[in-house]
């Protein structure tokens, strides 16, 4: 397998081009824009430090997404005691102080298993394809497909319920 030393310029270029997408996904994960920014910054600093371990068996962007998602998840866990976003799937979703009108899809998102939730974020907020999502979440492509189908059905149902 080819192993390359990743040029900093490629990482910087990716960061500058996709910063808003990274920020949006990270913010969705940690539920706070400032913390989301911090997660993105911290994730990219890790990418810089770990770039020697990058193997071009997967695309750079997918690899970076994995780091960003994991960093954001780590930050969310660190805040778990203070924050109310559920760590695992199931009930107990919090509205995080949002207005009641925002709650429909937010609650549904919150109640999705974490993998489905992250897949939704990466598909809808970052416009990643299944392969890239699979790499970012470290799962098989088939799992992404099934996860998104399941999440999609759940979201459709939630919207229909809200509309009713």
């Amino acid at each position: 397998m080819v192993r390359v030393r990743l040029p900093v310029s490629e990482i910087e270029s990716l960061y500058r081009e996709r910063y808003r997408h990274f920020l949006r996904v990270a913010t969705a994960i940690v539920d706070d824009e400032a913390t989301g920014h911090d997660a993105v910054q911290e994730a990219f600093s890790r990418v810089l430090k770990k770039r020697a371990s990058f193997r071009d068996e997967c695309p750079l962007e997918a690899w970076v997404w994995r780091v960003v998602v994991n960093t954001a998840r780590g930050q969310r866990r660190a805040q778990a005691a203070r924050r109310e976003w559920p760590e695992s799937a199931g009930g107990g979703a919090s509205l995080n102080g949002r207005a009641e009108s925002d709650t429909g899809i937010r609650v549904w998102i919150a109640t999705l298993p974490e993998r489905q939730r992250l897949a939704i974020f990466l598909r809808y907020f970052a416009d990643l394809d299944y392969q890239a999502i699979a790499t970012a979440l470290d799962v098989e492509v088939g799992t992404v497909s099934a996860t998104l189908s399941s999440a999609h059905r759940a979201l459709r149902r939630s919207l229909e319920e809200v509309e009713r």
Partner: protein, 605 residues
Amino acid sequence: MIDLDPQIVSELDRTFPPPSGGRADWQDIVDRAAGRRLRMVPSRRLVAISTAVIVTAALVAVMTPVGAAVVRGLDGFAAWISGEPGQPASSAEQQAFQHANERSWSGFAPGTELRRLIQTSLNGTSYTLYGFRSGNQLCLRLVASGAVSATSTHCAPLQALQTAKEPALVVAADEPFSSTNAPPNDEGLVPEVTSASFGIVSDGVTQVLLRADDGSHDALVASNAFLYVADHPQPGVLVRSVQAVAGDGSNVALPFQSAPGMLDMPQPPKGTPQGPAQVDLRVSGGTIGWFDAREPRGKPLPAELRQYPLFAHDRYVFGRVIQPDPQSADRIAVVLIDGFREPEKGAKVAGLCLMMGSGEHATGTCNSLSRLFKLGPLDIELSGSGSDQFSLLEGLASDDVAQIKLFLASGDTVDVPLTDNVFLVRVGRAAYPIRLVAYDTQQRVIDIRTYESDGMTSRAPRQASASVRELFRVSAADGTTAIVRAGDPAGGYRCYSIIYGTGTQAGGCPPWPLTDKITEGNPLLLISANTAGNDVFLGGQVPDQVASVTVTFTDGAVANAKTEDGFVVYPIPAAELANGRTLLALRAYDRSGAQIAQRGFGIRR
């Protein structure tokens, strides 16, 4: 794949609106990676700002061994990245640039904005340094007007700025400016009126210091650029190193290779080639499907190229202009011709020409089509001008190649733009040794080319060039003189030069003695025809066993060529060139008088 459901997108956007704030801050990431900055969560923002000075100091200590405060980040080059260094050029200057640009088949991107950076005057000549960004090229254009009138444009790839660890970039060094009316001096050379060195600097750089053979010189620094114009430089005086200096006096050496003098080439850069060293799969017999099928890829050959004698009349078969990198003005014309004369055998065969155009410049080479991909799936040309700090690697890749990567000595890797089997990449002369690696679709390494340097270097020791002296002169009918100089062999090299009037020059410090490997078994291989005014000379190096050389014309006349100490020079009589062309045969003899080589020449003036 599930499509993005518009209703879900709308709901998600409403529930998780796109970030309202947040600002990309690359320097913060670099600082974090180096462990030099407090994590900048919002509540700590003030703390982070207040520690900025400390952070900078920490950076300084790590980045430069002397603890200098010269650091760089892309932000320092923001003016260049945005294409807006300095001030806008006047509308007349912009129009002149645009006009020259439009006339070229490989002009810079339409709408490229010329920026005025530095202006200075010297001995009745005004030198104005302009800058512009064209796609991923950052270019400097020095215009001399007055006693000397000339324009010189050199470009650096944006990637060089992005990967550079230093706060400045030398783009050209010792670019010569001569008066076209000046006569050659006693050594046959037209002396330079000035020579110029220039480059790009980041915001924090206040001084650029050039160390040359005649001492240290301060460059003018303004508008994120530097310019140094040497007044009547003595022959052989070159810039040897360049330093960028910050406001507090700290400094850092910039990556730099001296311009090559004919007898004074720099040593190859120190370093170890990076990247794969083993080929995974050997492929041979490569082809380019679209070219063989005459598919109209890229663009047609422009009229100005069709007018080249080489492509004129019935010799032209097929040609297309390919732009390997959509972000660059560089274009390469790939042209198939009939009747290409092989240099070695003289036979007429199908030839393949690559014409490389960048801005107003165009250069090219032709070769026998049958030699394409003989050495592997990459067919590479390495070129560059002496003053340019960036060399060009361009060429063709067979259909076997899916990707090409360039590995620099620094460990940085560059994806080489590759379109329709044509590739081109600029490489800093100081970034060698390099490896160009070709991969197939399965990421297997199928070709590796390692280059110690850009070819404008020599491992010849100093004494090889220091001992160079005149050996002999030969005058031609029209008054032009060829001057042969050579030094003593040293360390396996021998330096020499042959100057043909005010025309071509040949020479360098090649390996010595000349072996059969170098001459490919023909002691007359290194003899070439050289035009100087109305005269044409045959001249070059011959191995030590060659004692004499004769020239035989078609009418049977035989003349002796001046042969001395390993060099041959012969001026072709004007009568033999009365029709502008002649055929002749060279014969070499050893000391016993036995003929040891023969070579035919067809010469056209």
